[in-house]
Symmetry: C2
Subunit: 370 residues, 2 copies
């Protein structure tokens, strides 16, 4: 007999190891700060000055719980996206919404399809629901649409995850390709279309939102282009009945009042968003130039980061990454076979990209020597 | 054959109706604001001025994700509570942590014990995990410890929920009574000890935290005495192995960076907390006086609200509540049989209690007439 409460069999079987090491944890281990924080695809340009001012104004109001309906933010997002408020659910970032969506549709043993090397937090939530993950390799550094479709049909998948534009490779499909993918999908399979980087790529990469389609949920966030990763706020957009089902299990008071207010102000300042998009584009070009100046091959990107091919295997790219970390430059890299030849550099401030440019040659030389 | 993705059987069976109506939703329906917001047990005194200043200072840093380890906040909370950091997990308020704990320990069909009329959000999470809720009536307006224990043994419950001090009645048990309850609990049953109001009652009501005991989790929050309900931040305190299990399913980047920083500053300003506790005590006395002046019976309270017996049945108390809402005073009331004879008034600012004092006689008269 046990002498303590037993975890459910599902939870007991999950690994205790945690793959989510943040830059702060690395700084604690190193006992010194990074000089460049260009590894988590954050927006170093920060939120809009209007948003910053608004946050300061409302700080004293944080004794009040949030509006559990997220009424005002949903109303503004609905106008922004050309849908109705009942097509939108607001959550604690896309991460939180992915967790809910997985619990809504995945019973233990159900198949879920994703790409090998795609978003690990989605996989974490699938594991937490007891789902059976089926991973399809990337094809030419893009998520393999026909491969994903084959896997969905073969496995009778409940969910299929697709990020467009893609993390960690920065690649994308044009809207018409995504629309063909959606049209070919079984009506009983839900597409989780993660558009976290949607504002940062070509508009032609974003398929129209069809609010009558019951098997597509678009995920959007304030964490990337809007520069509010620290507030945890995102939304899911889909057919009203699908969206209504989130009400059954979501944490109704989960989105902070600060996030609700900041998100509303951020949506209202589209001029600032335009400036960020321009800065991100310039930053991508600069990162690509730095890569080429060092003999590395930058991959095209529709996001706020650039993956670059280090020209050898995963072990080599890992050494380059480690060399950059040792030189106070926080970056990350893809880990899946094939993708792992790359390192991934987020667009940062000019001085951060200066630091990256200064330190990359040394890191490369050390990787070649070591 | 379905022509849309099917919810899991567990989720499909959950009700779509949502019991969480916030004051903002009521204001939208009424088309005018409340003059007194004294219904959600928020702290109208707000967060510490130091916390407000700190939030304003760091608003511009919100482009950075939070530290997923909550390292600094856990370290400070550990010192504050006399435990180790690995005895603490930080979450998106107690609500978020309750959801995780339920998923960790409750499989579909498992019994969970609570009090009839206790925290509905806990019940919501139990339903979301497919648990079988067993509710024990209050006894003399307190949670019935021996009744809960009997139900735990009879049902072989996985979890038992107890709030001390209690919401919605404001009552409490002294620490030694809680400790006897813990000692009598089966080792395999987890006690969820919700101490959200812990700072606001007598210190003698808080049992010592035994970090070696595997079947008790204490829940604490920044939402009540610390005045930060809008930021969503709380923590669970327990044995290290129990706490480690949260890592398996929690949203690692779920707590906002703003909440981490504000929480840290709030813990550091215990002098302000002391001022709030004194104001809450004065407010409770004022509310009790208002009740007695109107012939109602205030219940003793160890929280930031006072339940008052309206001297008749639930239908009458509901009319009193409706009368107050109609007079622009936002309050709530217990709904369970026996408790429902009461209305519940949160401590508010002086002008809010003035408004309550002005409007209560009219609401009572209308209830008696109607």
């Amino acid at each position: 007999m046990p002498n303590r409460p037993s975890l459910t069999p599902l939870i007991a079987a999950l690994p205790s190891t945690v793959p989510f090491v943040g830059p702060e944890a690395q700084e604690r281990t190193r006992s010194k700060p990074f000089r460049a924080r260009i590894g988590a695809n954050e927006s170093s340009f920060g939120p809009s000055p209007r948003v910053i001012a608004r946050m300061a104004d409302v700080a004293r109001d944080m004794w009040m719980y949030c509006d559990p309906d997220n009424h005002d933010l949903k109303a503004a997002a609905a106008i922004h996206l050309g849908v109705r408020p009942d097509n939108i659910v607001v959550g604690e970032g896309i991460d939180g919404l992915l967790g809910l969506l997985v619990r809504m549709y995945v019973s233990p043993g159900d198949a879920v399809v994703t790409s090998l090397g795609a978003y690990p937090t989605f996989n974490f939530h699938v594991a937490g629901a007891g789902g059976r993950l089926v991973a399809v390799p990337y094809d030419n550094d893009r998520e393999n649409l026909s491969g994903l479709l084959d896997a969905v049909r073969r496995e009778n998948a409940r969910l299929v995850y697709l990020s467009n534009p893609d993390n960690p490779m920065g690649s994308w499909w044009e809207a018409d390709e995504i629309e063909h993918f959606i049209a070919a999908l079984p009506e009983t399979t839900m597409l989780v279309l993660d558009e976290a980087y949607g504002e940062l790529g070509p508009a032609s990469a974003l398929p129209a939102i069809d609010a009558n389609r019951a098997n597509v949920v678009h995920m959007r966030t304030f964490s990337k282009a809007y520069g509010l990763a620290g507030l945890r706020c995102g939304f899911a957009v889909g057919e009203a009945e699908v969206i209504r089902s989130f009400e059954k299990i979501r944490n109704h008071y989960g989105v902070s009042r600060m996030a609700q207010i900041a998100g509303l102000e951020a949506l209202a300042d589209q001029a600032y968003l335009g400036q960020v998009v321009a800065k991100v584009d310039a930053g991508r070009q600069r990162i690509a130039s730095i890569a080429m100046a060092n003999g590395l091959k930058p991959l095209p990107s529709a996001t706020n980061f650039v993956a670059m091919d280090c020209g050898a295997d995963g072990a080599f790219a890992l050494k380059v990454l480690q060399g950059l970390l040792a030189r106070d430059v926080f970056i990350r890299k893809p880990m899946a076979p094939g993708l792992d030849r790359c390192i991934r550099i987020s667009v940062g401030l000019d001085h951060e990209l200066d630091t990256f440019a200064e330190e990359l040659p040394g890191a490369l030389a050390a990787a070649r020597d070591g």
